[in-house]
């Protein structure tokens, strides 16, 4: 198979990879917030449930979670899924998994906000919700950016785990072509792609961090 055909096929998978990446961020970044708040809640039931959730999500392989979410409708409830569900299952599994990691990052960020900020807000008449949204959240976001960058870079590479249920993303394609052609070249090309993608991600994250350099905590 000529190189341009190989690249063309990989390109198709690249779109899926990028979609998994973006959709996972779109859902998991907001989802992590209520999860971290539940984890820190004074309500025992909430904090224990979210604690168990985070522990399971972080303590079991993501690949296993993808497989379980893909097969659960059929084996669990006898529902026949359409082929479109494959992609949906991947997005659900990634979002649920990454939300757990983000929740813990947010928690560390929120807990690093000095008590004095809450006290000043209370004295100045801010309600608890106003304090969180206006004072705590923006500062938390700045503090967690480096840790978020790490997690987001890991996500780029983790998208390849969805080959476990044969999603047509780039790694799956590369593996198929490599097997057919008995060549490492498609996998190497995929490797280059992940690397370049991550250079881009790191660059964007750095820009965002820089944007928040106008103040120090």
């Amino acid at each position: 198979m000529p190189l341009n055909v190989v690249l063309e096929k990989l390109m198709g998978g690249m779109g899926v990879t990028v979609s998994i990446f973006l959709l996972t961020l779109l859902f998991s970044i907001p989802l992590g917030l209520p999860l971290s708040l539940a984890r820190m809640s004074k309500n025992k039931v909430l904090s224990v449930i979210s604690g168990i959730y985070i522990s399971v999500m972080r303590g079991t392989p993501l690949m296993l979670q993808i497989i379980v979410i893909y097969f659960l409708p059929f084996y669990g409830f006898g529902i026949n899924v359409t082929s479109g569900y494959r992609f949906v299952a991947v997005i659900i599994a990634f979002s649920l998994n990454y939300a757990a990691y983000f929740a813990e990052i947010y928690r560390s960020g929120i807990q690093s906000i000095p008590k004095g900020q809450y006290e000043a807000a209370q004295i100045l008449g801010y309600s608890r919700v106003q304090t969180f949204i206006r004072i705590v959240m923006p500062q938390m976001f700045k503090r967690v950016l480096p840790a978020m960058t790490n997690e987001i870079i890991t996500l780029v590479k983790d998208t390849s785990l969805s080959f476990a249920i044969a999603t047509a993303e780039m790694f799956t394609m590369a593996k198929q072509i490599a097997a057919k052609e008995a060549s490492l070249a498609p996998l190497m090309a995929a490797g280059v792609f992940y690397y370049v993608f991550n250079l881009l991600v790191a660059h964007v994250c750095k820009r965002v961090e820089k944007h928040y350099d106008y103040y120090r905590i």
């Binding site: 006290e119 000043a120 106003q130 923006p138 500062q139 103040y215 905590i217």
Partner: protein, 251 residues
């Protein structure tokens, strides 16, 4: 009129009694300073008065309104809505300023006003007026991290004043500042005293306290050991008080 009235305030931390029944009332226009060694409970008293700590016993009134009272050995606080109103009567200046680092100087002073219900224009006008008075008008677009400690503390005083509290508490306002910067903050407080702002100041600046206060309170081990005009306290023959003030004067 008594603006602040604390009766028999008690507070424990981990079973240790930090405040052993303190009563204090402050009239409109009065400047009261609270002095005493570290660990005497000065700051805890202030924090109880500002409701940053809940009292374990005693009652608390602001301008005649009941914020907390003791009933059957338990302190019950007023409802959330009532406390919200009561909180508007006082302001607090912290030792560590506690400015909001992600906001510009101007926004630090305007946002609390907007939260209190003022329009953006009103808040802006008031903020600029306060910052102007404190000599910070050229800093309004800066961020707290770009200011010196003294400037930050002045912004935090402006932030408190913009809400027009009836009484202002100071919790060791110069303890985080080096001696050079202490002066500029003390000057601001002195100016406020000249304008008859009601203030309760916890401080280690003995000469400043003597000069600015109508009344001084010497606390030790959770009780008020002595109370009176600066002349009375500095002329006291209480050994403990004399040695404390003597040490702080550098003798």
């Amino acid at each position: 009129m008594e603006l602040v009235k604390i009766e028999n305030c008690r507070k424990n931390f981990d079973g240790e009694e930090i405040l052993k029944g303190i009563s204090l009332s402050v009239k409109e226009g009065e400047v009261v300073s609270v002095i005493g060694p570290s660990g005497s409970g000065k700051s805890t008293l202030l924090r109880c008065a500002c409701m940053l700590e809940t009292m374990d016993g005693g009652s608390l009134y602001y301008a005649g309104k009941q914020a907390a009272h003791e009933e059957n050995g338990r302190v019950s606080y007023a409802s959330g809505a009532e406390l919200k109103e009561i909180r508007k009567t006082f302001g607090l200046v912290f030792q560590n300023f506690n400015l909001f680092p992600h906001y510009s100087v101007l926004k630090n002073v305007t946002e609390p006003q907007i939260i209190a219900g003022r329009s953006k224009e009103e808040a802006d006008k008031k903020a600029k007026e306060c910052l102007e008075k404190l000599g910070l008008i050229d800093k309004i677009s800066g961020y707290p991290c770009q200011l010196s400690g003294g400037q930050q503390q002045r912004v935090s005083i402006a932030r408190a004043l913009a809400l027009e509290p009836k009484v202002l508490f100071f919790d060791e306002p110069t303890s985080a500042l080096d001696p050079e910067l202490t002066g500029e903050v003390l000057k601001v407080i002195r100016d406020l005293a000249a304008l008859h702002m009601t203030m309760i100041i916890v401080t280690h600046e003995m000469n400043f306290a003597k000069e600015v206060s109508d009344r001084m309170i010497f606390m030790e081990k959770g009780v008020i050991r002595a109370e009176g005009s600066p002349e009375e306290l500095f002329g006291s023959d209480d050994e403990r008080l004399r040695s404390f003030m003597g040490k702080l004067n550098g003798n």
